[in-house]
């Protein structure tokens, strides 16, 4: 299921995601997620925004099945994410690259396939392909310590894409990078999404990033996270760098900004 191979990835369909009345309360009565519901159709690029500490990362972990709901349900492709089979085609990108420092680029990207039990020749081939997609073919034998922050993040992206996921979850993936690098990586991610049919859920603090990348933005309130706005972004699927200065984009950004204000989440706490 993970490895439906084809020369171009366009044949790999994304999956639907349904969050229904989701609650997550941690020990000590810390409510992180409260009555969150939304549905994502297959192939959609969705951004999640909200004040720092409101529960976005918690929600993403719940979607990935890495944490358990207190109440409600989360379904990926119509099945509860908590008991999804391990090879369910979900990939996760963290805020920092989190590479294995003792493995070179190729072996880092190979890792997911290795854990899924794919044979060496095939996983080498797929890893090379994924590395090429993020434009790092020259650095294939380098170690993480020998890479810049942007390159490391691209390796991390390649590692997530190597299994051809049908649902890609990203938790502020480029937040630690400088603006230029972030813009380049945003464009790269956009291209990768356009060329595949995968569903993307993207957590970010950057209103510009959310508006530029996604087809829809959901804004959460302060902790516990509750949906306070669900904003469609009708800027088409084919986007390019020029869109960043498009007045229509500015308009969308204003809308997101208003929603964040209403929820009590100013940009002030962006760099927690």
């Amino acid at each position: 299921m993970v490895l439906q191979q084809s020369p171009d990835n366009s044949t790999i369909a994304g999956v639907s995601l349904d969050v229904t009345g989701a609650y997550r309360t941690f020990d000590g009565n810390v409510k992180a997620v409260e009555d969150v519901s939304f549905s994502v159709p297959p192939g959609q690029f969705l951004s999640l925004l909200g004040p720092s500490g409101c529960g976005k990362s918690t929600l993403l972990r719940l979607i990935a099945g890495l944490d358990h709901l207190t109440a409600g349900s989360i379904q990926v492709a119509g099945r509860p994410s908590a008991d999804l089979p391990k090879r369910s085609g979900i990939a996760f990108v963290f805020q920092d690259a989190h590479l294995l420092p003792w493995r070179n680029v190729l072996r880092n990207v190979e890792l997911p396939l290795e854990l899924l039990g794919i044979g060496r020749p095939q996983r080498r081939e797929l890893a090379r392909q994924a590395i090429e997609e993020v434009g790092l073919s020259d650095a294939i034998t380098r170690y993480p310590l020998q890479l810049s922050g942007g390159m490391r993040m691209r390796v991390s992206l390649a590692r997530a894409l190597v299994t051809r996921p049908r649902l890609l979850l990203l938790d502020e993936p480029f937040a630690a990078l400088d603006e230029m690098t972030r813009h380049r990586l945003d464009e790269q991610l956009l291209g990768l999404w356009q060329n595949s049919g995968m569903t993307v859920v993207f957590v970010t603090h950057s209103i510009l990033e959310a508006a530029f990348l996604s087809q829809r933005a959901i804004v959460f309130s302060r902790r516990p996270a509750r949906v306070i706005a669900d904003i469609p972004i009708n800027l088409g699927r084919d986007r390019a760098a020029e869109l960043r200065t498009d007045p229509r984009l500015l308009h969308v950004m204003q809308e997101i900004q208003h929603a964040l204000r209403a929820g009590g989440g100013e940009e002030g706490d962006e760099h927690a």
């Binding site: 090879r87 294995l100 854990l115």
Partner: protein
């Protein structure tokens, strides 16, 4: 900032590990020579009797004259220390893995491990003589007993400190206990394991000498510790010093070997090995 890092990286490649080692060894060797020469002059000037404090030159002469005996004893001591050290490394890592599997086992055993670490070996050695006959076996076990605790403690810390995000990733791709151990937790623990090995190397030599004092056989080339005791009984202070010197050289070489191994294992990925 990236340019700076690039430059630093290039600079780092310049001195080879060998020349770096020589650079590091140079000052302490100078210091040693300086101290030895001063001691020589003072001892000669004050006419200190040799049975109290032999001059460095006399110790050097003894090392040469009695080199056959010293080397034979060194071989015995080195064997016990290396085997004890090796066993401590292997068993220490295995025990730490066992501890890392269960929070309960950890909580139950850890206080006792700390307690055991405070029991001096000299106090354990007589027991070993009671349980096992005196000789190489009990001496080796002595070395093992002292060297194993830093191995366990350091390895356990390393195993438990694997990156939580990576653990999530391993879960996401359905990695089992064994795959996580081999591909994530043990490699993550490698810097700690090397640290543990550094401490264990020195302790293994100390444990061996102490073991030989208490549980060594008193015949044949039973080790530097035994030779040291015998030399002291017959008033050969020069030979005592020679044995001490040889024993510390053994400790130093073992430490050096561990450092080299650690460097080779970690040089590509761990900041501590990149200058």
């Amino acid at each position: 900032m990236r340019c700076g890092r690039e430059a630093a990286r290039k600079g780092m490649n310049m001195p080879s590990p060998g020349s770096r080692a020589i650079q590091a060894a140079w000052p302490p060797i100078m210091m040693f020579l300086l101290l030895a020469i001063s001691a020589e002059m003072i001892i000669r000037a004050m006419k200190v009797p040799a049975f109290l404090l032999p001059a460095p030159s006399a110790v050097l002469r003894t090392m040469w004259v009695d080199s056959g005996e010293l080397l034979a004893n060194l071989a015995t001591t080195a064997w016990a220390a290396v085997v004890g050290f090796g066993a401590a490394v292997v068993l220490g890592i295995l025990f730490a893995i066992l501890l890392s599997t269960s929070r309960f086992v950890q909580r139950a055993l850890y206080p006792y491990m700390v307690f055991f670490q405070t029991v001096p070996v000299v106090a354990i050695a007589p027991l070993l003589v009671i349980w096992i006959e005196p000789g190489l076996k009990s001496v080796t076990i002595c070395a093992l007993v002292v060297a194993i605790f830093p191995m366990i403690a350091n390895t356990l810390t390393g195993l438990l400190s694997a990156d939580p995000a990576l653990r999530d990733m391993f879960t996401l791709y359905g990695a089992g206990w064994w795959a996580s151990l081999i591909k994530l937790r043990l490699p993550s623990a490698m810097p700690n394991i090397v640290t543990g090995m550094r401490i264990a190397a020195g302790l293994a030599v100390i444990g061996t000498i102490v073991g030989e004092f208490v549980a060594g056989e008193l015949q044949g080339n039973a080790g530097l510790g035994v030779e040291l005791l015998v030399a002291q009984k017959v008033g050969r202070t020069d030979l005592v010093f020679a044995a001490i010197l040889v024993a510390s050289l053994l400790g130093l070489s073992l430490f050096g070997l561990v450092n080299l191994t650690g460097h080779l294992l970690l040089r590509r990925w761990h900041a501590s090995e990149r200058g």
